[in-house]
């Protein structure tokens, strides 16, 4: 009967909500256990449906009554009570705070100690929803002593329970390093690392997400995660058929790689870069993003690592990303990563430039539809690569359609290389570069003008005059003013 009430209330949203709750409230203290259970289920479904219902349930003060005698109830009631709590807590931090304040956490810990796996699942799911919102709520969950029990839950044979426990640990540890340290101290890492080889895809998602949330906070935590011997098993996750397993695996590797060069070195040595590059090549969309960022982080640490990324054929998937993807943030990440690869030495810049990346970057920079963030990242990447690039054939196309602030760098590079290399000078003239340089107008005294002067000084004066704009007019004028000798 109470379920019917619940269904009708849920279906007819406009009708009076608070009265339903008030109707259900006395039934909670009914003698028959199945009535209590059905009422709890109804409340849970009501609260699950939308925020106002959940607030109404909280305001009516039902929660203390719901959980007052929870340890003595049977397992169905415990499951349903956990369902109610999590239906309320999932909507907003304030509701979750209300749930915590009525003393729900201790009761949920009692549920976690129960033998039935369904009850444990419900309780840990509730903990997960509470801890998800912010750090204080997570701290409250930890203070209630839930973490060791969750680690025990992970070791249970039921897959669903393992999934939920892993996702709860992930939600707890994501907020701050201290919480992550608490999770680590309970011995979670070893069990999580063992579960990476489990064939269930959803479990792997949660486990990888938990490990990455632990590893992201500090170098020590990342090293602890690495010491649990996840490499090279994690690389098999990058080949999984499930997209989100690949994404979370790439996220985990990113969180480890970004801290120190030694960790990045370790990842390169274990072949992680190759696996990531294959992963990027095979996915589409946001799934690629953590992989791209990992490559950027690895390349940013040192030039040897950047060379290792280049050698593992990392540039082509990144440039493919730049071209194919539609989302701005993925393009921005790819541009940043390419900038990190190319900025170290001329050798690196040459590799990046030969992959025909610079014109693409320029197009994105000039494109009006790109967002501010994307433009800024592309500009930085271009600047970094151009400042080291001495490979002139790749710089030629940029001469023709670059905006002035990029042109300055391009001309600067030419002015560095041309004085020393005669073949390059010849090529420069024949490909029309000198002509283009003459056409550029720069303020006298500016850096651009100095570069142009340096370039002009590399050539004999006649050639410079020949290519300067308006030379044909000057010649024609001379023809006009010439007096023929009769």
């Amino acid at each position: 009967m109470s379920l019917r009430l619940a269904y009708s209330a849920v279906s007819g949203r406009g009708c009076v909500k608070i009265s339903v709750v008030c109707l259900l409230r006395p039934l909670l203290l009914d003698v028959i256990p199945s009535v209590r259970q059905t009422v709890a289920l109804a409340l849970g479904r009501l609260a699950d449906h939308d925020v106002e219902m959940a607030e109404a349930v909280v305001k009516a003060g039902i929660l203390p009554q719901l959980i007052c005698l929870l340890p003595e109830e049977n397992r169905y009631y415990k499951k349903t009570a956990a369902f109610v709590l999590r239906a309320i807590a999932k909507h907003s931090p304030q509701l979750a705070q209300a749930v915590v304040q009525c003393g729900a956490l201790e009761m949920l810990v009692v549920c976690l100690e129960d033998f039935d796996p369904g009850v444990k699942e419900g309780a840990s799911w509730t903990f997960g929803y509470i801890a998800r919102h912010n750090a204080e709520l997570s701290q409250a969950v930890v203070d209630a002593g839930a973490v060791p029990l969750l680690v025990l839950c992970i070791q249970e044979p039921e897959i669903a329970l393992k999934r939920i426990a892993a996702s709860t640990l992930s939600d707890i540890s994501k907020h701050s390093p201290e919480l992550a340290q608490t999770v680590v101290d309970a011995g979670a890492i070893a069990h999580l690392a063992q579960m990476i080889t489990n064939p269930d895809a959803k479990l792997k998602r949660q486990v990888l997400s938990a490990l990455s949330q632990i590893a992201k906070h500090s170098v020590d935590l990342a090293e602890l995660v690495v010491e649990a011997e996840i490499f090279p098993v994690v690389l098999t996750c990058l080949k999984d058929s499930d997209e989100y397993v690949k994404k979370n695996g790439a996220t985990l590797i990113r969180e480890i790689a970004k801290h120190t060069p030694e960790l990045s070195q370790f990842i390169v040595n274990s072949g992680g870069v190759a696996a990531l590059i294959d992963c990027i090549g095979s996915c589409r969309g946001t799934v690629r993003l953590p992989g791209i960022m990992t490559l950027g982080y690895v390349a940013a640490h040192s030039e040897n690592l950047s060379m290792a990324v280049i050698v593992s054929k990392g540039i082509s998937p990144l440039s493919a990303c730049l071209i194919e993807e539609h989302e701005d943030h993925i393009k921005a990440a790819a541009a940043w990563a390419l900038g990190q690869i190319g900025r170290h030495t001329a050798e690196h810049a040459r590799h990046v430039a030969t992959a025909n990346v610079l014109p693409t970057l320029l197009d994105i920079f000039v494109d009006t539809r790109s967002s501010e963030d994307l433009k800024m990242k592309t500009k930085k990447a271009l600047k970094n690569i151009l400042q080291k690039c001495t490979y002139l054939p790749a710089l030629e196309p940029l001469l023709h359609d670059a905006p002035p602030n990029i042109m300055k760098h391009v001309i600067g590079q030419f002015s560095k290389v041309l004085p020393h290399d005669s073949k390059a000078r010849r090529l420069f003239v024949t490909t029309g570069g000198l002509k283009k340089v003459q056409e550029i107008k720069a303020e006298p005294g500016s850096l651009l003008q100095e570069y142009i002067n340096t370039i002009n000084n590399c050539y004999p004066e006649e050639i410079v005059r020949y290519y300067s704009p308006g030379y044909s007019e000057i010649l024609l004028e001379r023809v006009e003013n010439y007096q023929p000798v009769l």
């Binding site: 999984d240 058929s241 274990s270 072949g271 190759a274 050698v311």
Partner: protein
Amino acid sequence: MAALARLQEKLQRLQEEYFLTYRAIDEERKTKYKAAVRIQRWFRACRVRAYLRHLSKMAILIQKWWRGYLRRKYFREIVERAYFIKKLEFYNEMAVRIQKMWRGYYVRKYIHNFSALKRYLEAVSLNNEFVRSELQEYAEMKENEEKMKDLEKKEEEEKYQARKMHYLLSTAQIPGIYNSPLRKSPDPMELLLRKSKPLTHRKQKMGSSLADELYCWPTCEKPPAFVTTLPLLPAPRQKPQGPFRDPGEVLRQRYKPLEPTLRVRESMNSPPAKAREATGREEWRSPIHDNKEVTVLCPIDFCHFLHITKMLRNMSHQFVTQANMAEKPMEQNISEK
């Protein structure tokens, strides 16, 4: 005296001469004096000049020698210094060479080891190849597994369908739909139908709690065969008169399954039974006590007799009034054995 006279003659002339000469001398004395002075002056000057020349020569000589000595000393110093500088330069050059080679070696080995870097990058690419191939194999293995699973599922489905449609199998008279006479060989579905076992009807669920309790009887793995055919007891419209016991209770008691002891549960042919049988034969051959009368029963029946009596003893207090009924299950048990 002649001399004197001559002298006196000469005297006059002498005096004149004397006077003339002295006058001449007097007259020349000044010029002579001046000449003498001049000569002496010139001579003294010559002497002095000679002396000065001599002095200057000596001075020159001294200075020459002194300067020569000084310069030679100085020259020696210069030479020494130059030699020293040459040596220093030589040493410097050699030191530069050594430092150049050492710095080159050191930088190339420790700071920027290009060959090691190259080797490392080659090793990284090799490792990458290896990892890539391994991951490829892993992915292929997974794909194969999934394909196998799908195939198996499909096969299961087909087999289930075949079992359900077993009635479509062709008989000797009538060819089935999958075995058309126009075909050269029967359809694969036909072959599958021939191979599959027909699906029986789903067992009817007995919803009553009585049957549930019978099924869930703790020691009973399979209820006795005839219990399955036992229908639900018709709900009595009126409670039958008389001191009858609850039918459920009765049935429970009646169909309580046998819980034989270990010895009874063993078959006749198991090794302990055979061993026992051996000892029985021994006893028969050489009994310890000769006083006891040998029973008619042969030793093989002896065990049966024993356990039959035991069973009777067990059941007797239960089946006081229904001794007849008690024999039936016993007989059945014996016949089973």
